[in-house]
Subunit: 272 residues, 2 copies
């Protein structure tokens, strides 16, 4: 049974089209490669009620994990922890472990002369103010710690929006948890480029290959507008046994290739 | 009053991290620039129930528009129209206007020798099978038409996932509707780069400028990890009067610049 994950990205910059959501893309690839399945990605603005609503809805769908990005920093519009606290019906409280982490960072910045002097301003303490019952996750490259908590059997992980910080905390503290939840399941994929037949001609061939290969998912991605027949065929499966997975994928690729060539199409394997 | 928009992107390729969601980014920028506000972006997989659920939830939040991308093509996993029909409690029916559009495309492809002969296979007819009470939107660069319908005062627009097709249909048929809904409202923005002070030092200055400039939104975007003090400050407003908007933005930029320099930071305007 594949464990489900939901991703919630917080930030007005994503809703006004200022920032391309590379965080969701990176996380989705990571989660999938680890053998879990992302079921939904939600983007909301810097608004406590919007964040709380998205978190509440996600919890109701009972994924194994909810991962949020953004909104952990020191400014007024960093509202993710307030939104999560609201969704979980918990108070925000100063977390001593988190406070120590943040203090150490600013001591270091002062020692390096990056700030005038060490001082814990309210905006700095804010980054150590977590929903009750949470634990901070060390931020190896920035200031605001990540945060982890649990609610109704769902593990919630809150990560910063700065990509380097998000990736560093994920790899250090979140990846091991997901790997454990995935067990031996792994995601396998292959890709084939198809020329010379339109997607609507390919469609019934995919139907047949999907019926004949029940554990394999085949999806066509037109590389340009339909009618300009250049299509990428993506073939994937999730399995506990690498040998089985590879056999399933090659069988489907072989069958698709034969059918495509019979229809007058040309194919070429593609690096995934 | 700003009209709200929700974007729903359909496609497993987005959930497995294969494809970066440039469609949502492009649409969000377009919608914002036209003077409307994107309130939420949701990404779901190629699953009728997941799509229907996301559409139902979005309708309940009563945006002026819901724009979906992906899932309009000829293959088995193009399920957006089925999901929308399910959400609206409507049947899918062959739409004569859409059928004419699709037929014309395949006649043209046959005339150009891109397909052997003109033929309307079930997978091609599928692209003209729309929820009752819908209207097709001409696809200037591909085959599957866009689709528009209305439910409980919410306008639903379904666009293909191939970016060129999505953009072409949007610009030809959707942009005029949004422009009308926006009235005279327009979005204005400016950006300033800040060096030499960390975000936590900037935070109280932003608080003050936001209090003093109530119609202006100021957001800091760390360009690297906190502690490496390089931050982009993004200042935006929505207004009916270009003169007012520009004055509001310059006033906020000026105030922020003064406060930042007083704290020992350096600034430089940035092209948006």
């Amino acid at each position: 049974m594949v464990s489900n994950v939901e991703i919630i990205c917080v930030g007005n910059e994503l809703l006004i089209g200022k920032t391309l959501n590379t965080n969701a893309h990176w996380l989705a690839k990571k989660v999938t490669t680890l053998g879990l399945a992302v079921k939904r990605i939600t983007v909301v603005g810097d608004d406590v009620e919007e964040i709380a609503q998205a978190v509440r809805e996600a919890i109701q769908r009972k994924p194994a994990f909810i991962i949020t990005t953004g909104g952990l920093g020191p400014t007024f519009d960093d509202k993710t922890l307030e939104g999560v606290a609201e969704a979980l019906g918990r108070r925000l409280e100063r977390n001593e472990e988190a406070l120590k982490m943040v203090e150490e960072k600013y001591k270091q910045y002062a020692a390096e002369g990056r700030i005038d002097r060490f001082e814990m301003t309210p905006h700095r303490v804010k980054m150590a103010t977590l929903p009750e019952g949470s634990r901070p996750l060390r931020n190896p490259v920035g200031t605001a710690p990540g945060v982890i908590t649990e609610c109704e059997g769902v593990v919630l992980v809150m990560l910063p929006g700065v990509p380097q910080e998000m990736m560093a905390i994920f790899e250090e503290s979140v990846e091991p948890l997901l790997r454990k939840a995935a067990g031996n399941l792994t995601f396998y994929e292959a890709s084939v480029e198809v020329w010379g037949i339109p997607e609507s001609t390919l469609a019934p061939l995919i139907d047949k290959a999907m019926r004949d290969n029940p554990y394999v998912y085949i999806k066509s991605h037109p590389k340009a507008a339909e009618g300009t027949p250049h299509i990428e065929l993506h073939i994937s499966t999730t399995s506990e046994k690498p040998g089985d997975a590879r056999r399933r994928i090659s069988k489907a690729v072989m069958q698709m290739s034969e059918m495509i060539q019979r229809e007058g199409g040309r194919i070429r394997p593609r690096r995934v």
